[in-house]
Symmetry: C2
Subunit: 96 residues, 2 copies
DNA sequence: AAATTAGGTTTATAATATAAACCGGTTTAT
DNA sequence: ATAAACCGGTTTATATTATAAACCTAATTT
């Protein structure tokens, strides 16, 4: 009847982060912060969870002298996202 | 960019309850319990929240000698649900 | 009449989200 | 050249939330 809603994705901020990363080759921390409007601490925590789950990969580097961390969604992350969207549709009345 | 996800609806069980109630004239407790597979305590708590918010109405009565409580979604509940679905679409890549 | 079941509600606990406080380094102003 | 402010984060404390266990009252079954 109702499909299981992956709790890792069923979170406003984590879903927002995944939504950004699925539509873009890669994104850095600042980009994510600006797009989501969330606080840095919150983003940091949620990104860690997505990373632990293997949904995104994290690459720490530099832009000039400053640190810059970029994030990319993984295959596993894409799969999980798609599955989540599919599960959601069992709750909404979206056709298909 | 991303729309606000009403936290009252962004909950697996409450969303399931609302999803049931939006597609049916009314439903009783047992029906909701069976359809969602959730425990009675959890359902009771979540229904109370939806009721407090004015999203559903509760009618306690009897079926023969046994108690039977039925639930109906309100206009306000329908509106909130639709708005929630719309907000969700800003996160997913559902066309329209 | 004791035990079980039904339909819930209340309460305790575990999990979660979120912001505040912090940290190492860099840039800017004095 | 030193202090102050800023940048990109991380850690940690707190508040909120979800969830199941325990419970209650009445009805049914044994």
């Amino acid at each position: 009847m109702f499909k299981y809603l992956n709790p890792l994705l069923h979170s406003e901020l984590r879903l927002g982060i995944m939504s950004i990363l699925i539509s873009v080759e890669e994104a850095d921390f600042v980009f994510i912060r600006e797009r989501t409007g969330a606080t840095a601490g919150n983003i940091s925590v949620q990104i860690e969870k997505l990373s632990e789950a293997g949904y995104i990969e994290v690459e720490k580097g530099f832009a000039g002298k400053r640190t810059r961390t970029v994030y990319r969604i993984t295959e596993k992350g894409v799969g999980a996202f798609e599955e989540y969207v599919d599960a959601l549709k069992s709750y909404l009345n979206i056709n298909q």
